[in-house]
């Protein structure tokens, strides 16, 4: 049934966008988390989106079953969450409790403006997937009344 696949697809989209929204929330919340060393400092996190390919079984030349990937997409998946490699922001604050021996503290490489636009984009995309889900639900409910 194709219409039930639409539920899965829109669901995967909503899931991906909510993960994106989560990383944005985490980034904004930690935008000012200072640290005394480069290694310990929080870095902005971004989800890695990729197309989910449809999988099907086929028989190869040796007569064995083989898992193949079709070129039809069946949703979106989050392959992982990566840290941004932009440079951290060192600040000279000798009176800060986290300051190192040179008097520097390191601030995360979070760009708050970028995070805000990301947040707006992901909430819009989430809404769009909800709309798709709603339409698919109406279509399917309509189908159940066939012949009545």
């Amino acid at each position: 049934m194709s219409l039930t696949n639409v539920f899965d697809i829109a669901g995967s989209g909503m899931n991906a966008q909510s993960i994106r929204l989560n990383t944005t929330a985490s980034n904004i919340a930690n935008a000012e988390s200072a640290s005394s060393s480069v290694e310990e400092t929080y870095r902005a996190r971004k989800p890695w989106f990729a197309v989910m390919q449809k999988e099907f079984m086929a028989v190869n030349e040796e007569g064995e079953f083989q898992q193949l990937k079709g070129n039809t997409g069946v949703g979106v998946q989050v392959l992982g969450i990566v840290e941004k490699d932009a440079p951290l922001k060192p600040r000279f604050q000798p009176d800060h409790p986290m300051a190192n021996e040179d008097g520097y503290v390191y601030y995360p490489n979070v760009n708050v403006v970028e995070e805000m636009t990301d947040m707006m984009s992901s909430s819009r995309s989430y809404q769009m997937n909800v709309e798709v889900l709603k339409t698919a639900k109406q279509m399917l409910q309509r189908t159940l009344t066939l012949g009545q």
Binding site: G13, V132, G147
Partner: protein
């Protein structure tokens, strides 16, 4: 049109339906067709069109879900061409089986998926235009509803013919 005419038309319709069933049963007996009663003949193109509309909804929903995926190319089907293909498939039915392990089946729309020409391609290689996909999805769902109406009226016709009221 008076009552007598309507009743006569209904009778003729019932007769035609019975004939259809007999033909189907004969076909099944001769081994051509395993299904005893085939709805495909009675319902025409609309059942296939409805399936195709549902498949297209899937493709468009996938475009919308991947609106933020880098490198994703928006896809769509050429509805007219695929429906014409369905008509051909309805005539010739099965796909070739050149190997004993092959499963019987009809060709899928997978290979008929095309790429959409982007109007505003983005820098990350994504070609999904949200507004276009959204309007296409809405249109597809309206078309689904109209096809559904046709199909539904076919069923209503069949039912009233069977009842003969």
């Amino acid at each position: 049109m008076d009552c007598g005419q309507v009743i006569e038309i209904q009778r003729n319709y019932k007769l035609a339906l019975t004939l259809l069933c007999v033909i189907q049963v004969n076909k099944a007996a001769s081994g051509n067709n395993m299904a005893s009663i085939n709805f495909d003949n009675a319902l025409g193109l609309h059942a296939r069109a409805l399936q195709l509309r549902a498949s297209r909804a899937e493709v468009l929903a996938n475009n919308l879900a991947n609106a933020d995926t880098p490198g994703f190319k928006a896809r769509d089907i050429n509805f007219r061409a695929v429906l014409a293909g369905e008509v051909e498939a309805q005539k010739s039915v099965a796909v070739d089986r050149t190997h004993s392990g092959h499963l019987a089946g009809r060709s899928q729309i997978d290979e008929q998926l095309l790429y959409r020409n982007p109007t505003q391609p983005s820098i990350d290689g994504n070609t999904v235009d949200t507004q276009i996909e959204k309007s296409q999805f809405a249109k597809n769902s309206m078309d689904y509803n109209s096809t559904f109406e046709f199909l539904s009226s076919k069923f209503k016709g069949l039912r009233s013919a069977v009842r003969g009221e």
